[in-house]
């Protein structure tokens, strides 16, 4: 069922002559909210994300003396640094295809800007990652597709603003995108329970984010030949033990406070933020019926175009409009 599909603008066929049967009525949509996830898009998202997982966790899978083991060659591991942005681009293009209408784009831009602005003072230093404050509720209210794109864009924008475009950026983008995505997949609770759920999710997300990025940075930071660096082919358990030691000694100290911050903030400010987002998604009229009717006593030239969407379809999902 289409969140924005029937808001008129997005699903409008570009050629005027066709009366607006929504252009993709045949495809059942697996998403809702500001950006619709069609079946193909979500499939691609899944596949690409799987590859993304590999790009994050290759140290855990690498076999002995394979191309990536750092003792042998310098730049094989960096191939993943090239791969991830490509994946992101593909996903973006797929999600955007005919789905990112003016409303969604404007909302994306503005929210990404707010996220980046929140991030500017702290520079996203470990222990304080305000991006989630906005990302989680946004993904929750505006749907998983929107959450995914927003997560990626927010970090990209803040990197551009601070000139911090480094090899880590694509991975940060991917991580944040996943957080936004899963925020959109949370069960539909309401009231107090919802806030608590978001807070818990936020904490978990913050921890997972730190873990994932550390996993990527691990081989570069720890190199080889030390008891906390990755061991190609030594098996998952062995490597996990090493990684855990690395994570523990390097960054858990930052990740825990970050998780706590996020949870607290969401507990405190979660309700108003959700309210604001729901209000705007109402005012932007995501998924509201647009209908033209000929005036009763009008003899106008052109045949009156009926464009009424049957109500049940245009009834927006709670995520889209509360």
């Amino acid at each position: 069922m289409a969140g924005i599909a029937h808001a008129g603008v997005s699903s409008e066929p570009s050629e005027p002559s066709v009366p607006s049967v929504p252009s993709v009525p045949s495809e059942r949509t697996s998403g809702s909210g500001a950006i619709r996830l069609r079946r193909r898009a979500s499939a691609l998202l899944l596949a690409a994300s799987a590859l993304g997982v590999v790009a994050f966790g290759w140290p855990l899978f690498a076999s002995r003396s394979s191309a990536v083991d750092l003792a042998h060659s310098g730049d094989a591991p960096w191939i993943f640094v090239i791969l991830v942005p490509l994946l992101l681009c593909v996903i973006m293009a797929e999600l955007a295809d005919g789905e990112l209408d003016a409303k969604a784009v404007a909302l994306l831009g503005v929210l990404a800007a707010c996220g980046a602005a929140l991030r500017l003072p702290s520079g996203g230093v470990a222990g304080f990652e305000p991006v989630f404050f906005l990302l989680v509720p946004a993904g929750r209210v505006l749907g998983r597709g929107f959450g995914f794109v927003l997560g990626a864009l927010t970090l990209f924008v803040s990197a551009l603003l601070t000139g911090g475009v480094g090899p880590w950026l694509p991975f940060q983008m991917f991580g944040a995108a996943w957080i936004g995505f899963f925020a959109g997949c949370l069960p539909s609770l309401r009231g107090r329970a919802e806030i608590v759920m978001l807070a818990v999710y936020g904490a978990i997300a913050a921890l997972a984010y730190g873990l994932a990025l550390n996993l990527w940075f691990w081989p570069f930071a720890a190199g080889t030949g030390s008891s906390i660096s990755f061991v190609p082919g030594a098996g998952l358990a062995e490597n996990l033990r090493h990684f855990w030691a690395f994570h523990l000694t390097t960054s858990l100290g930052f990740d825990l406070p970050r998780a706590v911050f996020t949870a607290l903030f969401l507990l405190v400010a979660g309700r108003p933020i959700l309210g604001a987002l729901r209000r705007v998604s109402r005012r932007a009229a995501f998924g509201v019926a647009v209908s033209f009717e000929p005036s009763l006593h009008s003899a106008t030239q052109s045949e009156p175009q009926l464009e009424t969407q049957p109500e049940p379809q245009s009834e927006p999902k709670p995520e889209a409009v509360s």
Binding site: L51, C89, V105, G109, A113, V157, L160, G223
Partner: protein
């Protein structure tokens, strides 16, 4: 020799080619001399050709980051490094972490060889980061967005909007913090910060609706959904690309996999994905206003970067020692070919056009304009 062209911004693509090529060069050696050369070359070019825009001031922080990386590597080596027999400098009392912390044992004798090795590895990573820092401080993000493929137009617009709006959001949050005082609340501290978030968000959201209306009225988003046949082609390409890339990844990770599965399939996959992007960008009647030109300075810059890469590759092929052994410690020598290539990457400092001096008001004026 000064820049022949008038003041203008170089095509961001050129800078990125230059920087990536230098990074790839750095990845091919642990010779501190070569790495040092790359670092200073990059720093020099940045100091010569960066603008005064906010993002252009970031190179310093990349330098700091580089130092941190080296320190981390050395410290890890001292604490966790496997003990290799060598000339011991000093010994750290060894501890063993509890089992829940993976029972790692810390400390032990620290050898000069191990330290030098770690430091060289760290230096290599630091220099790679420096190259990225150079690119991101030399390119205007707006220009980069203009170079985006047409398939990512929507995302590009969203980013442009964000880049434009972020400073205003900061100003707005400042005003809101002032307004808290007008309501008789404390105007600093975390609570003030959190409190100022809400009105800013509200204002931003309202603005987004107005913006969307204006974009709609100005013909944004006439692309619509892609027709089915092209849609199929694109999806096919994407699928193919993803599979190839997956195979490539497998080839990288599994030593027993045939070499064909490694780089070739990776490259093929990347090409397929890129092609899918290009195609899905097609058939959208949309044009670019005054796209950045690619003239001789762009060629010079990108080629000078590639020269460095070529130099070191050839040097390696001629059997020069690019990773001097640290056990026993040996004198790293100047590899003439590689060094020459790296020095060639200095050319942009003179041949890239000077950036225009942009009218960027102090935040104060912005405030006045905004207020």
């Amino acid at each position: 020799m000064s820049s022949p062209a008038a003041r203008r911004l170089l095509h961001p693509g050129a800078w990125w080619v230059w920087a990536i090529a230098l990074a790839a060069t750095a990845l091919r050696t642990t010779d501190p001399l070569l790495l040092g050369l790359i670092a200073v070359v990059v720093a020099f070019v940045v100091s010569a050709r960066r603008t005064d825009a906010p993002w252009a001031r970031s190179f310093g922080s990349f330098l700091r980051l580089g130092i941190i990386v080296i320190v981390i590597r050395v410290v890890f080596q001292m604490l966790f490094g496997v003990r290799v027999e060598g000339t011991t400098l000093f010994t750290i009392p060894s501890v063993t972490l509890p089992s829940w912390a993976a029972g790692v044992s810390l400390g032990g004798p620290v050898t000069a060889e191990a330290l030098v090795d770690a430091a060289c590895q760290g230096l290599r990573l630091a220099v790679v980061l420096l190259c990225f820092g150079a690119a991101s401080s030399l390119c205007s993000p707006y220009r980069m967005l203009r170079a985006l493929p047409s398939a990512l137009y929507e995302a590009g617009v969203a980013i442009t909007v964000a880049l434009t709006f972020a400073p205003q959001a900061i100003i707005a949050s400042r005003q809101v913090r002032d307004a808290r005082r007008l309501r008789g609340r404390a105007d600093r501290g975390v609570r003030a910060w959190a409190g100022s978030a809400m009105p800013v968000l509200e204002g931003a959201l309202d603005r987004s609706v107005a913006l969307a209306a204006s974009m709609d009225a100005r013909g944004y988003g006439r692309r619509g959904a892609t027709p089915r046949h092209r849609r199929r082609l694109i999806s096919g390409l994407m699928l193919l690309g993803l599979c190839l890339v997956a195979v490539g990844a497998y080839g990288l990770l599994d030593a027993s996999a045939p070499a064909v599965l490694r780089l070739p399939s990776f490259i093929a996959g990347a090409i397929a994905l890129t092609a899918s992007l290009v195609i899905s960008g097609r058939g959208v009647e949309r044009t670019r206003y005054r796209p950045d030109p690619w003239r001789s300075p762009e060629w010079i810059v990108s080629l000078s970067g590639l020269a460095a890469l070529a130099g070191i590759v050839m040097a390696a092929h001629n059997g020069a020692v690019l990773e001097p052994s640290v056990y026993p410690l040996t004198m790293p020598q100047l590899v003439p070919l590689a060094s020459a290539g790296i020095l060639a990457a200095l050319l942009p400092a003179w041949f890239a056009p000077r950036p225009p001096t942009l009218v960027e008001p102090e935040l104060g004026d912005r405030f006045e304009v905004a207020a």
